[in-house]
Symmetry: C2
Subunit: 196 residues, 2 copies
DNA sequence: CCTACCGATCGGTAGG
DNA sequence: CCTACCGATCGGTAGG
């Protein structure tokens, strides 16, 4: 019975996290109340606290889940034996797919992380800076190899990552084009913009 | 005296709006309280209401100020006798400069507009959709003229506008490169990505 | 998982 | 422009 209970609690918490991602994405972290969350979960507000510590915990679990996924991916791609420009393309495709498939949590992690409480805020900030630095190094390697234009690598990273987070509006709209078409369009423009 | 009073009230309101832009950018609209605003303005919270109707008014004045500036600009550029690709470049430079020079209000208009109250919310939404449609038409004209790659125009608009709003982080950072260099880097990548 | 409730803070008003 | 204050709502707890 202890076993069953643990499993139930875990999935219950995952369910709450999923609803929280959706709610925070829709209303913003500060604007979404625990009573709002309780309503979509289907319990009274007080009951949520049997599964989570507090509202902040919800946000940091969402943000770090996304951050961890990014860190694992860039680690993997850095180790691959392909050209820097191909690494950039792979990373961009990964971001685009993440935005399309895990839209709510990626969006929340992108736009609401500033409401993280310490020490999570500092930790997230550091991870984010680190990730961008590693991404920029790949671009610099491509410049050295003369397969990428001579641009400021940090600026390139910034605009590419933000360009992709803009898919938000596509996702919310009538989706005139498919996810795959969307991906190819973005790659054409962004990789095309970097390629020498 | 009535004259002087009017002038004073106007500049006082502008001062409040400027502080509000800065505060909403920093903390987010929902998270920034009228008491926070009063503190940076240097009065008691109740005194703010002699200059403004309510908190919502602050947000919609900020958002529509930015929206009006964009509408005027695209109207002007549409009428110019230059190639579609040059129009795109002009528009992008305009957005980049706006982000650098009127950072706080542009940022707030971009990220906090969802907290607008009706009828401003619907109105803003319509203007925004309209602006993007006009921008996309310029890109489509460039595709027809074969000076722009065959991309989905709405997707291109989305990612370009979001790429630029990403300058946020540059602005907040140590500004390793100048505003002009930043602008040239973005143009190289984005216009380079579109050009056939 | 619920009822009942807390102290804090919110946007905003009355009245001067 | 201030003091004094309002009703509403917030995150969270006690106790069962």
């Amino acid at each position: 019975m202890g076993r069953i209970k643990t499993i139930d609690n875990t999935s219950r918490k995952d369910f709450i996290l999923k609803k929280a991602s959706s709610l925070f994405r829709e209303k913003g972290f500060k604007s979404a109340s625990m009573r709002d969350l309780a309503e979509v979960v289907g319990v009274e507000a007080a009951s949520l606290y049997n599964h989570i510590k507090n509202k902040n915990e919800l946000l940091h679990e969402i943000c770090f889940k996304v951050a961890n996924r990014y860190n694992e991916k860039i680690e993997q791609i850095e180790a691959e034996d392909i050209s820097p420009l191909d690494k950039v393309e792979k990373l961009l495709r990964f971001h685009i797919q993440g935005m399309v498939q895990q839209f709510e949590e990626v969006y929340v992690s992108d736009r609401e992380w500033k409401y993280l409480s310490e020490p999570y805020l500092s930790n997230f900030h550091t991870q984010r800076k680190n990730y961008r630095k590693r991404f920029a190094s790949i671009i610099d390697a491509g410049i050295q190899k003369k397969e990428i234009k001579r641009v400021d690598a940090s600026t390139a990273v910034l605009i590419m990552l933000h360009a992709i987070s803009g898919i938000e509006s596509w996702h919310r709209s009538k989706q005139k084009i498919s996810g795959k078409e969307l991906e190819e369009n973005i790659i054409v423009i962004l990789v095309g913009g970097l390629k020498k």
